[in-house]
Symmetry: C2
Subunit: 228 residues, 2 copies
Amino acid sequence: MSSHPEETVPRPSLTERRKAETEREIARHAAELFSEHGAAGVTAEDIARAAGVSLRTFYRYFRTKEEAVAPLLTGGVRQWLADLAAAPAELSVTQALEHAVRAALTPDGPYADIRTEALESTRGLLRAVPGEPALHSVWLRVHAETEEALVPVLTGLAREGTDPLELRLAAAAANAAMRIAMEAWAATEAEPDDPERGPAALAVRCLRELTAGVRTPRAQPLPGAGGL
Amino acid sequence: MSSHPEETVPRPSLTERRKAETEREIARHAAELFSEHGAAGVTAEDIARAAGVSLRTFYRYFRTKEEAVAPLLTGGVRQWLADLAAAPAELSVTQALEHAVRAALTPDGPYADIRTEALESTRGLLRAVPGEPALHSVWLRVHAETEEALVPVLTGLAREGTDPLELRLAAAAANAAMRIAMEAWAATEAEPDDPERGPAALAVRCLRELTAGVRTPRAQPLPGAGGL
DNA sequence: CGCCTGCCTGGCACGTTGTGCCAGGCAGGC
DNA sequence: GCCTGCCTGGCACAACGTGCCAGGCAGGCG
């Protein structure tokens, strides 16, 4: 479902790929070490050594050691926003959000195992959060950034002239729904693809309740102008 | 309005007062220095020296230098929760929230000037947040803690057996309303007590939209059992 | 082919952050 | 008066995070 991922990948560029690979490598080892020893029991140098880079390089990729897990938490945000921006015009803003949220949190399609793994590692991190304030801050910051990024996307979906405060509220509602759904799911043992108690089902339910009162009218479909 | 604050102050205890005084003193100087030089341009030692304590003592009060401003941001949270918990039984949960939010963000009553000053200093901090990620994290963490604290209060207001997820959503909605209202107000020049564009008016509007779909039935008034 | 430019990387030094530990001072209770 | 807590300051130290410079590896140009 959703558009082909290749659309948003114009130039991996070899060196770019190597950098992204390094970042993922660091993030993976950081998450593993954090889950095992707790964030306080791991030094930045430990992570750097495990990932096979120097301490100096580590700090070129991440500002703090806790930030190192952010890429794992960010996971599907890019795709989520892209799906949302490409929502068919006959869906209302609320419906488009629900659709995109469900797609983002349902691990199916060609990358099903990767996405399942991402959900599982997020769950692992969330379970390590209590007692690790710095880790909690990263989780909150990731969501704050997502909320920020949601605003322009929603602006594009909504009818021109919609009150900016409405758009911020819609972004906050969607974001809070995702966050609480993930936190609630992390506290259970449900499978990532459980259609009843999985993250997608929870998120849709949260989203409906939080956006019930938000008024963001959908843009009128442009007469004759095709998509993109 | 609301109950007498003395109800929740059983024992200042002299030493306690001195500690609270020190904490406020540090927080005040930290906020002033941050607003002037930016958080990155101030060391923990600067704050400690300005507040007249040793560096060691500073770190006994706050875990990081950015945390030093948290008490100013927390401001009326304690009173807000107390007001909410004491809401009259004839109000629905949503109405009680709205009532408490309005009371918390409307600077009137005997402490009007102190509360106005708190709102103004929060606005000053919020304006310094862009470009200071660590400061932003504190703002987010304060709200996360408030949201956490809201859950048991709402549990007390709601009918027994209400789905915990509903309570979390209500807490998140109230919290997001407060946060976005403050952020939106901080971006304006409106007076703290402006009945149209002040924080209270914005927060009530945000709250109504975000809680429109949340279903948390109010507890039945206990027949015959008096207050407290 | 050799060179030059740009970028990523590692190593080093350094100021800052944050904590453990111990000693000194100031309150309240036997 | 003494003893017990508790808060405070000073010191030492590991860890954090950054500026700076040198080395290696790609691609563009004569």
